[in-house]
């Protein structure tokens, strides 16, 4: 049987998690109740088991209301529980074995048998462990995150963006009516509907519980103003426990009330969903602009406090909004909040299109110039048609695209898009060139593919074809692993709260992954893209064009990590590199991109998914995977970080920002479901040339650029922060698919960020 570490790290975790409010013993008792319930309902339907388990967690896991809160709902996560993603808790019925052991250590020897009993039960029932056991292999497919493998696979339900308008239009009471009426139509799915109904009852119970909490908190409050606020929050909760919301605070509260137990950590197009409520309250005098600002700030704080590191997406702007005028009012206030707060979450995302006005652009540039790293900008003119083609939907449906996590697109309310597979293109190249053996650990990772004798390869095309053959093998593994992740999750869970707000689950009487969701999509994260394509170009140029070295000579140098081969490395580094607006290197990057992107997409369609597309995103995995990836013909040394997202290897782009942007816009966006582009400016450079830089971004978008995210930092600040972290508690940087407080990052990740080109006046 395949061996993997159930206690290994499961997700990118930079932000510091707020400690649990429950005592360790209370936590243990809740987890025991949860486990008993899970066992008790093991022969019931999975929907029934899920809702009964949820009842153990809610409302028990709510935390107390904090001083600054204007909406109610803070939650703890235990080492055992139910969720969608590893960022908050875990996937489905989950156990975080490392955290469980840590809790056991804190409780002491006396509790060890109880902890071990839980541990052993969940070894057989944790959804992710079940998936890993069935799908991981000894050398080709590894656990997320074990970077010694070329392909990583996991089960998670990331990036669900629910149909909040359906929630807000109906309210909990309305949803109950809807569920009842659907049940009449599909009596064969009675159990599913009954369980959905129980979830709604549970939500009502949660609302009322939190209302009582607010009243209790008010009673202990001496400040009259805060007291009134809390009483008002209680009234809001009582109302929305059944009735549909009518005001902005009610709508906001209901959305938040739902999102927490649903385990979703990305929030969708809040401008369009909440804008009409906001506008009405402002116009009818129920709320001032300042009140609106305070509410949005409170929402921002709630999102920040969940600390998911790579999620927390809030999207504003763009095509396909139902209420653009009202949505814009929300957007402008949110831009102000974003600039003032400078939180790493929410990942505030602005969809730009040709109708984005000058005022919005100016506000965007101000927020970026202040160092907020937000908003991150997506180009609807490119992305909407690209999504329509890539996901095989009509253009109007394509306007529903929303990026989540590190950039992956989903169609809100209609598709899944979780990136459950991750592939390292550079590692695969290394394996291919070394007769199937990964130089990093000496293991043979070629599967059934015949190794190629590099000495006998006559042309670059022959070399490239051999690499493609191995890529094909790994892409086959990848699509199967992705597809199986849905199979395992569906076998174990119904994800009821997600199902209720996703087309067409209620309509069909089917849970999300049981045939309910309209578009079953998925994504595959690719890494080392540019190192691989720059390596290909170096091989083409040095071996087959200049004939300066043979393939075995080059391979020998790489295997020695270039030690004793300084001249070869120098020549490798001197080859044209992607990111400098050079057709040579950029076309190679595009060729590899299209091969992999089309290969993944075609396989998704063949296996029966609506779409399965690559995403060129990045968390800090380019660095972690780089540590386990041997030296490469682009001149990169063994263990060095790989290129971040769709950007060049740090420092390989030696030209101007226009050169970089021209390279970035090389790729046809139809073949991916999100691709991240970073650019970094010094503060004076950015702020003294804002208008020109804004115009430059606009041109880049017209040229086909799908996205850009901007970091603006003081020159030297990052270097100084590595030496004196205490001086930079709030220096935010864009890692790629997320922002982070720089001093919280691992040193290797800090070094990678530092290596990236900084556009500064004295450099130009």
């Amino acid at each position: 049987m395949v061996k993997f570490d159930v206690e290994g790290s499961q997700n990118v975790n930079v932000s510091k998690i707020i400690p649990c409010e429950k005592t360790d013993l209370e936590q243990l008792e809740i987890m025991e109740r949860y486990t008993q319930t899970h066992r008790k309902y093991s022969s019931a339907s999975r929907a029934r088991r899920e809702v009964e388990c949820q009842k153990v967690l809610f409302p028990t896991l709510y935390r107390s209301i904090e001083k600054q809160d204007l909406i109610v709902g803070r939650m703890d996560f235990l080492p055992i529980g139910f969720g969608s993603v590893t960022s908050v808790g875990g996937v489905g019925h989950y156990c975080r074995f490392d955290q469980l052991h840590a809790l056991g250590d804190r409780l002491g020897e006396a509790y060890k048998p109880r902890i071990e009993k839980l541990y052993n039960y969940w070894l057989d029932h944790d959804v992710k462990t079940i998936y890993c056991r069935e799908n991981l292999t000894d050398v080709t497919i590894g656990r997320f995150i074990d970077p010694s493998y070329p392909l990583l696979a996991t089960a998670r339900l990331s990036g669900m963006m629910l149909d909040y308008p359906k929630l807000l239009d109906n309210g909990i009471g309305g949803l109950k009516k809807l569920i009842a009426s659907k049940k009449e139509k599909h009596p064969e799915s009675a159990d599913f509907y009954d369980c959905c109904m129980d979830e709604m009852d549970l939500l009502t119970e949660c609302a009322l519980y939190l209302a009582d909490e607010a009243v209790r908190t008010a009673q202990g409050e001496t400040d009259e103003k805060r007291k009134a606020q809390l009483m008002n929050m209680a009234a809001v909760l009582r109302k929305i426990s059944v009735a549909r919301p009518e005001t902005f605070p009610e709508a906001l509260q209901l959305l938040w009330l739902y999102a927490l137990p649903a385990g979703v950590i990305n929030y969708g197009r809040l401008d369009d969903f909440l804008g009409p409520y906001l506008a009405r309250d402002l116009d009818e005098g129920r709320m001032s602009e300042q009140d609106a600002y305070d509410y949005i700030k409170s929402l921002w704080t709630m999102i920040e406090n969940r600390r998911t590191t790579v999620n927390g997406r809030v999207i504003v702007g763009g095509k396909g909004r139902k209420h653009p005028a009202e949505a814009d009012r929300f957007m402008h206030i949110a831009l102000k909040v974003c600039k003032d707060c400078r939180y790493v979450e929410p990942q505030f995302t602005l969809r730009i299109d040709e109708n984005t006005d000058e005022q919005t652009w100016a506000e965007v540039m101000d927020a970026l110039g202040a160092g907020a790293t937000y908003p991150t900008l997506y180009n609807d003119e490119v992305n909407v048609p690209a999504v329509a083609w890539g996901m095989r939907v009509d253009p109007e449906t394509a306007t529903r695209y929303v990026p989540f996590g590190c950039t992956e697109f989903v169609l809100w309310g209609q598709s899944t898009g979780t990136p459950n597979t991750l592939i390292n293109l550079l590692k695969i190249l290394n394996i291919y060139m070394n007769n199937g053996v990964d130089p990093m650990d000496g293991k043979y990772k070629l599967g059934p593919i015949q190794p190629k004798d590099m000495a006998k390869i006559k042309s670059f095309d022959e070399f490239y074809d051999g690499y493609k053959e191995l890529l094909n093998y790994y892409m086959d593994l990848s699509v199967q692993a992705q597809y199986n992740s849905y199979g395992v999750m569906n076998r174990e869970c119904s994800f009821l709260l997600n199902s209720i707000l996703m087309d067409d689950c209620l309509e069909r009487g089917k849970a999300l992954l049981d045939g309910g969701v309209r578009y079953l999509g998925g994504t595959c994260e690719t890494y080392g893209n540019i190192n691989a394509s720059d390596s290909l170009y170096a091989i083409k140029h040095l071996v087959f064009e200049e004939k300066k070295y043979t393939l075995p000579q080059l391979e020998e140098a790489v295997l020695h990590n270039f030690v004793g081969y300084a001249e070869i490395r120098h020549d490798c580094l001197a080859c044209d590199k992607y990111g400098n607006d050079l057709d040579t290197a950029d076309q190679m990057a595009n060729s590899l991109y299209e091969f992999v992107a089309k290969g993944i997409r075609d396989r998704g369609i063949q296996i029966g998914m609506q779409y399965y597309e690559i995403v060129i995103s990045n968390n800090s995995l380019n660095t972690e995977w780089g540590l386990q990836t041997a030296a490469s013909p682009d001149g990169r040394l063994s263990g060095m970080y790989m290129n971040p997202a769709n950007n060049p290897q740090g420092g390989a782009d030696k030209g101007s920002p226009t050169q970089l942007l021209n390279s970035l816009s090389t790729f046809d966006a139809r073949y991916h479901a999100g691709s991240v582009q970073n650019i970094k400016f010094s503060k004076p450079m950015f702020n003294q040339n804002k208008k020109l830089i804004e115009q430059m971004f606009k041109v880049y978008f017209r040229k086909g650029g799908c996205h850009v995210m901007v970091t603006v930092v003081d020159k030297g600040a990052l270097e100084d922060a590595m030496v004196h972290p205490e001086k930079y508690p709030d220096l935010i940087v864009r890692v790629a698919g997320y922002s982070a407080v720089f001093v919280n990052l691992d040193r290797t990740v800090q070094e990678e960020l530092l290596s990236r080109t900084l556009y500064d006046e004295s450099r130009l």
């Binding site: 030209g655 920002p657 226009t658 021209n662 430059m696 041109v699 040229k703 130009l764």
Partner: protein, 301 residues
């Protein structure tokens, strides 16, 4: 095909004319300003640049030099510049990027294609190409076919000039050029001669010619050099000249020392000596004075 001696092409140049531009730097200049920030541009032809700090003394460059011009002294490579022909073989041999060649002959097609790569940015920002140097006007004949081509493609053309080239060349170029960035270093004949070797009369003739052709296209630039041209008297003379020529816009460029490292790389002394850069605020009083004369002034271009 015609080729031109180029020592640098800078994309996203944002201080050499309006908008986003590509600056094409040509070699060859009749002046030898003591503070020149591009000493490698003064004479046409490739120059060996050597970064001593990066040299590890490995000696790989020594045997490859066909002139036997390189030797090792105190752990660093030393080149005999009188023997060096800047052939570039030592550059290829160096693994530490300590050696490079500045200046090469580029054919017009290559220059043209490079300029065009940022065309969309020029259109959006009212930018274009700026020919600088060296003194690009000296290459008027070689440049003309390229300028013609760029004009048909509606690429805005600017020239940065020291004013010291044959009048005939300015006449030839004027129809193609939408903006002249015209350097005025000193309006005192002797001072100018002493620090730059220039003949003021030549410069004034050219400036008057361009101003009479179209004063709106002429933009004065003053590299403000401490002890040379930073007095109110200098500004008074400038304001008078600009009034006479109906010129409106002037940039004050505070003295900087970014070129110092290039002197070291070329192995020649820095003739001006002063190694203290000016701050933008140092030229504020000059700016205020010129503005009081009704001129439009900016600092730093």
């Amino acid at each position: 095909m015609t080729s031109l001696p180029i020592f640098n092409i800078e994309r996203f140049a944002i201080h050499d004319g309006t908008g986003i531009r590509t600056a094409v730097f040509l070699q060859g200049c009749q002046l030898h300003c003591q503070w020149c920030a591009n000493p490698e541009s003064q004479q046409v032809g490739p120059k060996l640049m050597f970064l001593k700090d990066k040299c590890t003394g490995c000696g790989r460059c020594v045997p490859v030099c066909p002139q036997h011009a390189i030797s090792l002294q105190d752990g660093k490579a030393v080149v005999d510049r009188t023997a060096c022909t800047a052939c570039g073989r030592c550059v290829k041999a160096c693994l530490n990027d300590a050696r490079s060649i500045s200046g090469r002959w580029m054919d017009l097609r290559e220059i043209h294609d490079t300029i065009l790569r940022d065309r969309d940015y020029y259109e959006e920002t009212d930018g274009g190409v700026t020919f600088s140097g060296g003194e690009p006007v000296l290459q008027a004949a070689g440049l003309e076919p390229l300028l013609k081509q760029l004009c048909t493609e509606k690429i805005g053309i600017a020239f940065e000039t020291c004013g010291h080239a044959p009048l005939e060349n300015y006449r030839r170029l004027a129809p193609y050029v939408s903006e002249w960035l015209f350097d005025v270093k000193s309006l005192q004949k002797e001072v100018l001669k002493q620090y730059t070797g220039a003949d003021l009369d030549v410069i004034l003739i050219n400036l008057r010619h361009l101003s009479s052709y179209d004063p709106a296209r002429v933009h004065i630039r003053v590299p403000v050099i401490p002890g040379v041209n930073n007095t109110m008297d200098d500004m008074e003379r400038l304001a008078e000249l600009m009034k006479e020529c109906s010129l409106q816009k002037v940039d004050l460029l505070p003295y900087h020392t970014l070129g110092l490292t290039k002197y070291r790389q070329l192995g020649i002394p820095y003739p001006f000596g002063n190694e203290h850069a000016m701050h933008p605020e140092d030229v504020e009083p000059l700016k205020e004075y010129l503005e009081s004369c009704g001129l439009t002034v900016s600092i730093g271009g």
